[in-house]
């Protein structure tokens, strides 16, 4: 049986996404701009607000604003386009003989000014209080937080109305200060929580240790990182303050001598403009206000997206994977097409070779493999190009064996696990490949078929059990969920089964009624193991099952996994970067580097005679008590995953690199009993007599 990797002979652009995906990558790039400030919603919103502001500021240049006061115009004239309209009053006049256009020109900037002023005062106070609370902590924090939390729930307008009915507000500045009374709690809460988060970031800690003053840290290290949040809070605050001011004005409680949009509405409603059909009186101020609010609203959500890239990413990629069945169909069809196009690009004899190898693998994959992964390609489509997280990964797990998948962080281990489970998260996607369990290719399945395969045949012991359990439901419910999704079981039987499963992993009965936060890390991980064996699956994927645990608990969990495997005869893929653990647990080991498999071998052979230079480094790095040797760190960095070099994937860090490695990529070749390695050092014809042990 061959575990092969497609040789990429002439270094055909590995880094470029395949043609069909280039299109989707481009589409994605259009949605998410590289410069976050160029957010389309934010730009549109600012444009709207600016043009309204310009209308107010430039208006007096073109129009005689005194007409807003004189009251000399004829009464109740409609706009110029309506019947009876006068050209000297293009937007008509109201019942007091005042020109509407002049009123609107004067009112617009004064409404905006109140909003800006109140929000800026609120923001200044909020930043001061919030940073004090977040930075000093302790009692300061407690007091400031309690007061701002209370203040935020007070119905502001009620208090404002009462205040305004006693305090005669002569101008907009006085009003802005009163409105600011309610504009500070929001920014305070925001700055406090941001400060708390940022304070723990390592670069802030570094600045602190290097002796920077608190003020310096606040303004140099923290403030720039809060900027989008603060801006979103400011635009929200401005529209809130305009809303408050307009509310007071509509009620007739604002300054009455200065025209404002709310005041026009107030005068219109008190003069029964609605009933009298004087639409041009009450509607224009409402339209201007709506435009202002829409502008600020767009700015706020745009800034929100800038501050919160998750939302942006979701918006850009969310639709793509939405209809699961459709997605399946699409990938299936594309896969066929690509395979054909890939082979057709190759020269005649190579194509024949690939096709022969294809046929060979297909038959061999079926011999006694519980799980067979064939030619798996997974790409993550980022704005700057596709990251190749798995490149032509082919491996199989035999019945009853544990296959270890090792490699450094970011090498694509977890991506392979997610791809096997068919849950690669956007923007990632399986571009090509086959995943077979019992002769069924999971890649082509519909969402419904996949649900049946999940857990019954293919289960997961997740990475970091800390967050893998739903925090708000009991263990009973979460385990029952898994069972009931696939079987009809009565209540009593269900309870008994869950208890048995918990016993199997060495947990006491009382765990059944507990919630995740009441369990220790090791207990949670064992709950996850118990859950994974609930339906006696064919294959369990264990993704770093012990990595977040301390050494003693690691041992217990590893032991539990082994016992489970022995008893049930289940096949397992064990993903881990812990070479020591792998040595004890697994039957065969697959070493992954930068999305490519570099060595696949039985565990004894791999540890005794590691062939690939990378595997050798990994095994050397296992610390030993008997001999203290200097840690042999792997030098150099991984290449840019978007653009892997032609030739060997490990060339930049390899000690034995030579010209051939730079030119073409080696494939996995069986060089010993069941021992596969992808390295030119072992290509039989070229490098048979190099003794690696002395290297």
């Amino acid at each position: 049986m061959t575990v092969g990797q497609r040789t990429n002979g002439s270094g055909q652009a590995q880094g470029q996404p395949l043609p069909t995906d280039l299109a989707s990558a481009r589409a994605w790039r259009l949605n998410t701009w590289d410069t976050p400030w160029l957010n389309s919603k934010f730009l549109l919103g600012s444009g709207i607000v600016l043009s309204v502001l310009l209308f107010g500021l430039l208006g007096p240049v073109f129009w005689d604003t005194d007409l807003a006061y004189t009251g000399a115009a004829p009464l109740n004239k409609p706009p110029v386009w309506a019947e009876g309209g006068l050209p000297e009053h293009p937007l008509g006049t109201e019942s007091n003989g005042r020109d509407m256009l002049a009123q609107l020109i004067l009112a617009t900037p004064s409404s905006l000014k109140v909003g800006f002023l109140a929000a800026i005062i609120g923001m200044a106070v909020g930043m001061a209080l919030g940073s004090v609370a977040g930075y000093l902590g302790g009692w300061w924090d407690h007091i400031i937080r309690t007061i701002s939390d209370s203040a935020i729930t007070i119905p502001a307008l009620v208090v404002l109305v009462v205040i305004a009915s006693f305090v005669q507000m002569t101008d907009t500045t006085a009003m802005a200060f009163i409105l600011a009374l309610f504009a500070w709690p929001g920014p305070t809460r925001l700055v406090r929580s941001q400060t708390l988060t940022l304070r723990e970031r390592s670069y802030v800690r570094m600045a602190h240790l290097s002796g920077a003053s608190a003020v310096e840290i606040m303004f140099v290290e923290m403030l720039p990182n809060m900027l989008p949040w603060l801006a979103a809070s400011l635009t929200g605050g401005i529209s809130g303050a305009i809303l408050g001011a307009t509310g007071l004005e509509v009620l007739g409680l604002g300054p009455t001598r200065v025209p404002s949009l709310g005041l026009i509405i107030n005068q219109a409603t008190t003069n029964a403009a609605l009933v009298r059909g004087l639409t041009w009186w009450w509607l224009p101020p409402i339209i201007i206000l709506m435009v202002i609010f829409v502008g600020f609203f767009l700015m706020t959500i745009g800034l929100d997206e800038i501050a919160n890239p998750r939302i942006r990413r979701f918006g850009a990629s969310g639709h793509d994977s939405t209809p699961a069945t459709e997605r399946k169909k699409r990938t299936g069809a594309r896969r066929e097409k690509q395979r054909r196009s890939l082979t057709s690009d190759l020269p005649q004899e190579e194509r024949a070779a690939v096709e022969a190898a294809d046929a060979g693998r297909r038959s061999s994959a079926q011999d006694n493999a519980a799980l067979a992964v064939r030619d798996l390609h997974v790409h993550y489509f980022t704005p700057r190009g596709a990251i190749i997280a798995a490149n032509s990964v082919t491996l199989s797990v035999r019945k009853g064996e544990i296959l270890g998948l090792v490699g450094e962080s970011g090498c694509g281990k977890t991506t392979v696990a997610m791809a096997i489970l068919q849950v690669v998260q956007p923007p990632g996607r399986i571009v090509q490949g086959e995943i077979r369990i019992q002769d069924r290719d999971l890649v082509g399945l519909s969402a419904k078929e996949l649900r049946q395969v999940h857990w019954r045949e293919l289960a997961l012991v997740p990475q970091g059990a800390m967050n893998s359990l739903n925090p708000v439901t009991s263990i009973r419910e979460q385990m029952a969920d898994a069972i009931l999704a696939h079987e009809r079981v009565g209540r009593i039987e269900l309870e008994r089964r869950i208890l048995t499963l918990l016993h199997d992993v060495g947990l006491p009965d009382r765990v059944i009624g507990m919630y995740p936060h009441e369990l220790s890390g090791g207990m949670k991980q064992r709950v996850c193991i118990a859950m994974s064996i609930a339906l006696n699956p064919q294959v369990i994927i264990a993704d770093e099952p012990t990595s977040a645990l301390d050494v003693v608990v690691q041992r217990v969990v590893a032991q539990t996994l082994l016992e489970v495997k022995e008893r049930l005869g289940v096949s397992m893929v064990m993903i881990s970067h812990d070479m020591g653990l792998q040595a004890q647990l697994v039957d065969r080991i697959a070493v992954m580097y930068a999305g490519n498999l570099v060595e696949v071998a039985p565990v004894e052979s791999a540890y005794a005679r590691p062939r690939h230079p990378y595997t050798q480094l990994l095994i050397e790095s296992i610390p030993s008590i008997r001999e203290r040797k200097p840690l042999n760190a792997t030098e150099g960095l991984t290449h840019d995953l978007r653009n892997p070099p032609p030739g060997c994937i490990f060339q930049y860090r390899c000690k034995f690199v030579e010209q051939k490695c730079r030119d073409s990529r080696p494939s996995l070749v069986e060089i010993d009993q069941d021992h596969f390695v992808a390295c030119w050092l072992y290509e039989p014809d070229a490098h048979t007599n190099i003794d690696i042990e002395h290297a």
Partner: protein, 338 residues
């Protein structure tokens, strides 16, 4: 009663008292910080409106004595607190023999009914829309339609109310424009009256719901997106659960908790907005009564209503706070608004 510890309840109760204290004190202190006292301001206003009031000084002095404004600020403050606690604000200024409380009480059920219906609807609809927007499996056509429902979010309640009155009530004549019920029906538990009340409530409720649900929706969308990235959400998928179960038990169930906190924090704003809605629709609730009392310069009634609204808001927030640990097994002391 898991999670509802004595410590938590006590802490929330103190917050409750603090909120009422802050609001009421603002109402008390700011008019007094301003130049002139409420009575003088009011009498001056009256004299400005009606040209001249004879012996205004004596009137002011007499009223000040009657309402205890001659006492020191601290004595006034203490007395004011006594009033807030007993919900007794003395007599109405504008309708003298009537107690302020008597003027306020009839407005209360209208406001409570309108507001609780509008709040519940806007929160439910908003949260549902937001949850669907933040879920990867929402059908594509829904994903395209839902964001348009947020269009109204940017528009303040009362403006939408005015437009609704003009279009639906005046132009189309489908629903009544103002008031809580028509004069032609007999108040009581009879069908025509209930029908009439319902038809009057539609426009105010719609204008509150449509303009406020977007806020909840946006918040919920963000929360759902976060939950989407959680490990337990992934595990639920791999467990082979049905999409609806994942959506409700793993998605909404987790995202709703901070959304409820946001509801508690946003209640004040919602109630503020409803004052204007009541004003626009001349709906005889507390907001409208508050407005009328201000127009009538009925100082005691104004104070009574303002305090009442503050207390009711704080109480609802307190009740929400008590509900919170019951649905979140982790005891949470902080309010983490999104």
């Amino acid at each position: 009663m898991r999670g509802l510890t004595k410590e938590y309840v006590l802490q929330r109760f103190l917050m409750y008292l603090l909120t009422i204290w802050l609001g009421s004190t603002l109402i008390f202190i700011i008019p007094r910080l301003a130049p002139g006292d409420p009575i003088t301001v009011m009498i001056t206003r009256v004299s400005l409106d009606s040209g001249y009031v004879e012996n205004a000084d004596q009137i002011i002095a007499a009223w000040k004595a009657r309402f205890g404004l001659d006492d020191s600020l601290w004595v006034q403050y203490a007395r004011y607190w006594g009033n807030v606690f007993r919900l007794d604000f003395g007599f109405s200024l504008a309708h003298f023999p009537t107690k302020a409380w008597t003027m306020v009480r009839p407005a209360l059920p209208w406001s409570l009914g309108l507001l609780s219906l509008a709040t519940a609807l806007s929160f439910l609809v908003g949260v549902t829309v937001g949850a669907l927007m933040g879920w990867r499996r929402t059908p594509r056509w829904l994903q395209l339609i839902l964001p348009s429902s947020l269009t109204f979010t940017a528009i303040p309640y009362f403006m939408f109310g005015i437009v609704l009155i003009y279009v639906v009530a005046f132009k189309l004549d489908w629903l009544p424009a103002t008031g809580a019920y028509s004069r032609s029906v007999n108040p009581g538990w009879n069908w025509p009256f209930i029908q009439n009340v319902a038809s009057h409530a539609i426009l105010p409720v719609v204008s509150i719901v449509l303009t406020s649900m977007g806020g909840w929706a946006l918040g919920m969308r963000g929360l759902m997106i976060s939950v989407n990235n959680e490990d337990y959400f992934l595990l639920a998928q791999v467990k082979g659960l049905s999409p609806t179960r994942i959506f409700f038990r793993y998605g909404v169930r987790n995202a709703i908790l901070p959304a409820l906190t946001a509801l508690a924090l946003g209640l004040g704003g919602l109630i503020s907005g409803s004052i204007l809605v009541e004003f626009i629709f001349a709906y005889p609730g507390t907001g409208y009564t508050l407005y009328q009392s201000i127009i009538a310069q009925d100082y005691t009634v104004t104070q009574a209503i303002a305090n009442l609204i503050i207390i009711v808001t704080a109480t609802s927030v307190f009740l929400l706070d008590l509900l919170y640990p019951l649905i979140d097994p982790r005891i949470t002391y902080k309010r983490n608004a999104p």
